[in-house]
């Protein structure tokens, strides 16, 4: 006899004991996965409020782009190129943090220098500051979004596992246990009848 998630089943006592142990382990695994699922749901719910700030950050970016356009208009391309020359490239570092066993990327600013030159036109400085402000707010949001994405992926994965265990694997194991128990009971009954018949024959022989 074969069960999809158990494999070939041997109706022996040893196999039954191993199967019972395995089922017990699976049940405690389901409990642990449920706890992880609940924790992941809590974590993602905590992030939800923060993720709603995206529209505000987008608004700030829009403002920054508007200011950039104005800077380009008032200062001209040569001045903008000078500002670009004075701006150090943005340096970031990506770290990986573990949240309930889920690996989450986290970006940190290593160096973030604005073009700090009073010789630049104020409108250019204003555009740079607007961008810096927007980027400063964008970064935690990016981190939160990446975290949420990973948590959501992990949550889906965990729920799939819990469902598979609860709906397929554990029932399969329990069915296999039941099958072995029935088979063993049948064997025992057969054995009992055989012994009983043997005793009857023996008794008849002694009397006869």
């Amino acid at each position: 006899m074969s069960f999809r998630s158990v494999g070939r089943v041997l109706p022996t006592k040893g196999f039954l004991i191993r199967l019972r142990e395995r089922t017990q382990l699976l049940k405690s695994g389901v409990e642990a996965l449920k706890m992880k699922r609940d924790q992941l749901v809590r974590e993602s719910q905590e992030l939800l409020e923060f993720l709603k700030t995206r529209s505000e950050v987008e608004k700030k970016l829009e403002e920054a782009y508007r200011m950039l356009k104005l800077a380009y208009t008032a200062a001209g391309p040569t001045e903008m190129r000078k500002a670009a020359l004075l701006t150090m490239p943005l340096l970031t570092e990506v770290k990986v943090r573990s949240v309930i066993g889920v690996e989450v990327p986290e970006i940190e600013f290593k160096e973030f220098h604005l073009a700090a030159s009073p010789s630049l036109e104020a409108v250019v400085i204003a555009a740079a500051r607007k961008f810096a402000e927007a980027v400063n707010e964008l970064l935690p949001l990016i981190n939160a979004e990446a975290k949420f994405e990973r948590i959501a992926e992990s949550l889906a994965d965990t729920m799939r596992k819990v469902n598979a265990l609860e709906k397929i694997i554990i029932p399969d194991h329990e069915a296999a246990i039941k099958y072995i128990e029935e088979a063993l009971e049948e064997d025992m009954l057969e054995e009992f009848l055989r012994v009983k018949k043997y005793r009857d024959i023996k008794r008849r022989e002694e009397l006869g």
């Binding site: 200011m67 356009k69 104005l70 800077a71 380009y72 208009t73 008032a74 001209g76 391309p77 040569t78 190129r81 000078k82 020359l85 004075l86 604005l114 073009a115 700090a116 030159s117 009073p118 010789s119 630049l120 036109e121 104020a122 409108v123 400085i125 204003a126 555009a127 500051r129 607007k130």
Partner: protein
């Protein structure tokens, strides 16, 4: 004889002034949608010669180049008229800010440039420094050796030798040097080109003060403390302004303090309004340029045929170039007409 030469120059400057654009005409450009129509309107002005066709009005580089070249032509024309007079030195010193700006760009390019092509110079210059020769240097040390103006060389050398090479230190030192050069035209009785109390002297003092105010406003906007700014400037004759800068720790404080002083009040107010509206004091240049223009208008009226009028012409030229740049680049960037109008608005002094 000397006075006659200056008078002659002033009269010729009146002629040059008549070539400047009328503000209403300039503002009407902001309303023109078609490049062709605008091109036709511009052909009759000094800028027309620098555009080959209407398509050039959509090209940012061509627009900027045309404005700079027209500015340069006007400066050169004035300098050629002033050749051999005492005014030539004053004009060269006044215009040396373009040389200093290009020098600053060369230094920044040599210090921070990632490729040799990253040298963006303004096509105006050569008033006191040979920018062509200086721009060919590949090291700051060579640049310092090549500089004939030892004052400038000392500033660059000191900055380059400093530990952090903060751009603002170089900027403020160069600004201070430029203002000192300008003010040196007023010092001494025999040597002075113009007398301190003459309208031209007043105009130079007012211009220098505005120049320092603009530089300080931007420095404080960049979160540099007021006392640090004044320590880099050194001793300058604008006691009231320097005290205000010195006692301010950020731009808001500086604007608040400027608001308490009558001559600075309207300009501080205008910058504060922009801050309220946009959150950033992005109009500093525009406001100060306006102040310079209005002040030069006011002072030059005292003596229309004098050195003051010649200096006023320079300020008016710069004001016009700034406005034309704003209109033409604003059209390309699709800035709304309202915003462009607001930028070109020139309030009368009585409206404050």
């Amino acid at each position: 004889m000397v006075k006659a030469k200056v008078r002659y120059l002033a009269v010729r400057t009146h002629g040059l002034y008549s070539h400047l654009l009328d503000l209403d005409e300039m503002r009407s450009w902001a309303l023109i949608d078609s490049d062709e129509e605008l091109f036709n309107r511009m052909t009759n002005t000094d800028y027309g010669a620098f555009f080959e066709g209407p398509q050039d009005l959509s090209n940012v580089s061509k627009v900027e180049e045309a404005i700079y070249r027209s500015l340069s032509v006007r400066f050169r024309r004035l300098l050629s008229l002033a050749r051999g007079t005492k005014m030539e030195l004053l004009l060269r010193n006044f215009l040396s800010k373009y040389d200093i700006e290009n020098l600053r760009r060369i230094v920044f390019s040599l210090t921070y440039g990632r490729t040799p092509e990253e040298l963006y110079l303004i096509p105006i210059g050569g008033f006191k420094l040979d920018i062509g020769k200086l721009s060919k240097t590949t090291k700051v040390e060579h640049l310092v050796d090549l500089l004939e103006d030892r004052g400038l060389a000392k500033i660059i050398q000191g900055w380059y030798a400093s530990e952090y090479r903060e751009p603002y230190r170089l900027d403020l030192s160069l600004d201070s040097y430029y203002v000192r050069t300008l003010l040196s035209m007023l010092e001494g009785i025999r040597k002075s080109v113009v007398k301190k109390r003459s309208p031209a002297g007043q105009l130079i003092l007012s211009y220098a003060e505005s120049y320092i105010m603009r530089s300080a406003l931007k420095a404080l906007y960049l979160d540099i403390k007021g006392d640090e700014v004044t320590s880099i400037y050194g001793k300058l004759p604008f006691k009231r302004l320097m005290n205000v800068i010195n006692s301010s720790s950020n731009i808001n404080e500086l604007l608040d303090n400027l608001l308490k002083i009558e001559p600075y009040k309207p300009y501080a107010y205008e910058i504060m309004e922009a801050m309220k509206e946009v959150g950033e004091p992005w109009v500093i240049e525009h406001t100060i340029q306006k102040k310079i223009y209005l002040e030069s208008l006011r002072i030059s009226l005292k003596r229309p045929v004098s050195e003051a009028y010649i200096l006023k012409y320079l300020n008016a030229t710069e004001w016009e170039a700034q406005n034309v740049k704003t209109i033409l680049l604003g059209r390309i960037s699709k800035i709304s007409r309202d915003t462009l109008y607001k930028l070109l608005e020139l309030p009368t002094t009585t409206s404050f």
